[in-house]
Symmetry: C2
Subunit: 409 residues, 2 copies
Amino acid sequence: MSLIVQKFGGTSVGSVERIKEVAKKVARFRDEGHDVVVVVSAMSGETNRLIELAKAMQNQPTPREMDVLVSTGEQVTIALLCMALHDLGYGARSYTGSQVRILTDESHTKARIKEIDDQSIRADLTAGNVVVVAGFQGVDESGNITTLGRGGSDTTGVALAAALNADECQIYTDVDGVYTTDPRVVEDARRLDRITFEEMLEMASLGSKVLQIRSVEFAGKYNVPLRVLHAFQDGPGTLISLEDEQAMENPAISGIAFTRDEAKITVLGVPDTPGLAYQILGPVSDANIEVDVIVQNVAEDNTTDLTFTVSRGDMLKAEAIVRDLVEKTGAREVKTDNRICKVSLVGVGMRSHAGIASKMFKTLADESINIQLITTSEIKISVVIEEKYLELAVRALHAAFELDQKAAS
Amino acid sequence: MSLIVQKFGGTSVGSVERIKEVAKKVARFRDEGHDVVVVVSAMSGETNRLIELAKAMQNQPTPREMDVLVSTGEQVTIALLCMALHDLGYGARSYTGSQVRILTDESHTKARIKEIDDQSIRADLTAGNVVVVAGFQGVDESGNITTLGRGGSDTTGVALAAALNADECQIYTDVDGVYTTDPRVVEDARRLDRITFEEMLEMASLGSKVLQIRSVEFAGKYNVPLRVLHAFQDGPGTLISLEDEQAMENPAISGIAFTRDEAKITVLGVPDTPGLAYQILGPVSDANIEVDVIVQNVAEDNTTDLTFTVSRGDMLKAEAIVRDLVEKTGAREVKTDNRICKVSLVGVGMRSHAGIASKMFKTLADESINIQLITTSEIKISVVIEEKYLELAVRALHAAFELDQKAAS
């Protein structure tokens, strides 16, 4: 018997029928003898409906009142799920964030959890009840309702799991786990049985949007085993946990992430002086444009080339800013390209395996794919290539690193 | 400058536009220098929507979870009204029942208020804010959300006014005040400037459904002046307060109430023994049938006749119960009539004015209206007559007691 925290998102509780399905799934875990704490989001569509109402009242709705308003979404779901569990004959009690007491700071609409009082929940679990908690919300020191920002229900689940020292935090989604890469691109993409927090962070930020990044960071920090599962299909899902010390023999690469939505800006022939990167990228960042890859080559003839990538929608804006700087920095030329993409190999095994990078470059060369930029981190190698080669590159790398084959364990 | 509690019901806050209208009205009172506490209901239709969802989950939804669910209705309204006030440039802060701390007993879906903590509200008023409170809801000792039952927002308003020692509790409705009688029956019906709590109770229970009876009782108990006003029309409304000692010269009658929805059951020739009324009415009440008028005449030949009225929809059920008792009680016969109505004169002045009853009976006799039953209380005389005479009787009495003419004051 273990203590499990289960989180169901808006789509999973999007209708009366789906809430009843969730109740049945929770009931099965109770039947197996587990203690269960369920965290739910608002029914899909409800949060947007409430935001529309708010915007009809005030152009920039007051954050404190916005939280009072949207927190009703999850409050509706916790009550309905408890009723569905009662209807199946299971004990269950609902808790708003304020009732648990999920204490947060005072940053309305983007609050951070400071402390969770687990007393009432523990008492309810001991009494044999399923505890159903409203995700995404908390309360500040003064009793004001706060929310954690959109998608914050994952964070509630992980935080509760950490506070209760739960055996596992299960995040139910519309996919049955984390894959070696996007199955729409590579037919042979394989569901991973497990992956480390770090790998998941690299996969998530690179476009495999299964989990909220913040909740993965949180889970890693408090070492809460996370499991991604499909809400309405059975299966083991993918376990996200600390690196398994005994798994040093695991393959170097866990997965291949990619993103299409990038554009590249290169400033050629910039005089190589200290502060150069700041002179160019400072104004870009001041304009609230997020910069992804940054590459600067070694200087030659006292000039250098600086290349960076931005989200494709920001390219024209970023280009204009950089062109304004040409005279000031003494640069020779600015070039842009929005037909690029980024492909990344991710894996903690990379740390102890030599030759990953060269194998990656050789694989791409064999397919005559030209590499435009390269960046690396401890557990990731990313390359920027022409967009039309995206699928070819991902498939070739997936095969070369044998990601379709389950690791011997 | 005074402290005013204003209550707006579901229809008054039934849309974005109407909430904005309410905000403008509240703002006008602030401009006049008053401190304002606003109590709001859920937007019309919202509570029913939530109840439908609950019934889809569970045949008899768990009361605790029902309260968690339906209390979201008012929570939405308080946030939206605060946003609307902010948009107009006024300070405002919302409070759920739990945040105020409106402490109630633990009777979910029909809780009673035990205590109100006025500290936070007073601090907000001192800071110049409008305080917007969710009606209909509270919290029990253990932190569970409770609701006061349908229509309970009036009670919240009165209870807050009592706790804050407010100068007036204004109840905004879809009528511009309390009338001498139903204007749809008597064209000359006149809005009353003031009426006593007792009179209002008699008027309300007799069919002039402007206010929740419980809130009037509550206002009377704590001597909170209540004012009934139209939500979207200007006007002084009707003030409901304690009897004005200086107003002894006021007319004897304040208004005429009536109800159509009644049926009469008469048990003839019952042996006049102790416990007779209980023997007959006990089983009726056990069947959850509410009995209104009860009349028993003096016995003759050791038998008597007992007549009572019930809501028309309950007549057949009540008749069946009473017929079953005929043998047991030794009664001679049971007669029923569902073509009756009840007309009542209400007025505290009655206490000090002789001849009201005889004037009433003469007025009806002059119109050849036969009186079937008569009951009286300290401030009310009711007669049961044939239903077809209802309008005629009310109009004749309205004219006879000169209710269309404003009292000299």
